[in-house]
Amino acid sequence: MVLDLNVSIRENSNIPVIDLEGEIDVYTYPKLSDALQYVFETYPTAKDLIVNLDKIRYIDSTGLGVIANSANQIKKMNEGYINIINATPQIKKIFDVSGLISANFKIFDSEEDAITSLGN
């Protein structure tokens, strides 16, 4: 069980993708925040950013708070979107309970679905 958070950044079809592994809580969320800020600085005109939760087994309010703030930031910068992919049913439930899913915040079942949708 990974209690830490591992972060890596890549591109798919010119869209930045942040791959996350582990748990996002009050201890690890600064790593996610740093990664999102790095992507905003590296891709200052990006309209879409994908956050891959395939290997995330736990996320709480601190992680959602960071993602929600980043969604606000990319909205203000470029009228852009944060796109969440591969969330487990439990994590989808948390997003749902949070009430944070908004016009600049999307959830896709897979990376393929996201790339297909964002490419159109």
Partner: protein
């Protein structure tokens, strides 16, 4: 099991140890008849209560967070307390702030109330106590 059993845990008010509290809650809930989904709910609620204590109870000082897990036939009752400065739960609750920590606090309380069957919050100048109850599905 007829009588309740209580397991106690004390962690320092450091973010490093919130995961330990979460794992402890998970281990205890696993010994009971909770579903996987219930166990995940309990983990989040415990983590949120501890996160609030870590972020708000002691300021820049180091304190302790005490937990008592009361195991009953039909429920798990978790009491999480600190001896910090307390905070006004109602005025501090928001999900509209730009400050990530404020959003975290607001969401943490939303999660606890949504995921547990009962949540009681008592805060004063001498500390905060959160009581979380999850009933075992019959």
């Amino acid at each position: 099991m007829t009588d309740s059993v209580t397991i106690k845990l004390t962690i320092p008010s450091l973010s490093d140890y919130v995961g330990v509290a979460r794992l402890t809650a998970s281990g205890i809930a696993n010994r009971m008849k909770f579903t996987h989904e219930d166990i995940e709910d309990i983990k989040i609620a415990v983590s949120e209560a501890c996160t609030n204590a870590v972020q708000y109870a002691y300021g820049d000082s180091l304190g302790e967070i005490e937990m008592a897990f009361g195991i009953y036939d039909d429920k798990l009752e978790i009491v999480i307390s600190d001896s910090g400065k307390g905070f006004d739960i109602e005025s501090d609750v928001t999900t509209q702030e730009d400050d990530p920590e404020k959003i975290g606090l607001g969401l943490g309380i939303v999660f606890m109330r949504s995921l547990m069957d009962q949540v009681d919050y008592n805060t004063s100048e001498t500390g905060t106590t959160v009581t979380l109850v999850k009933k075992v599905s019959s």
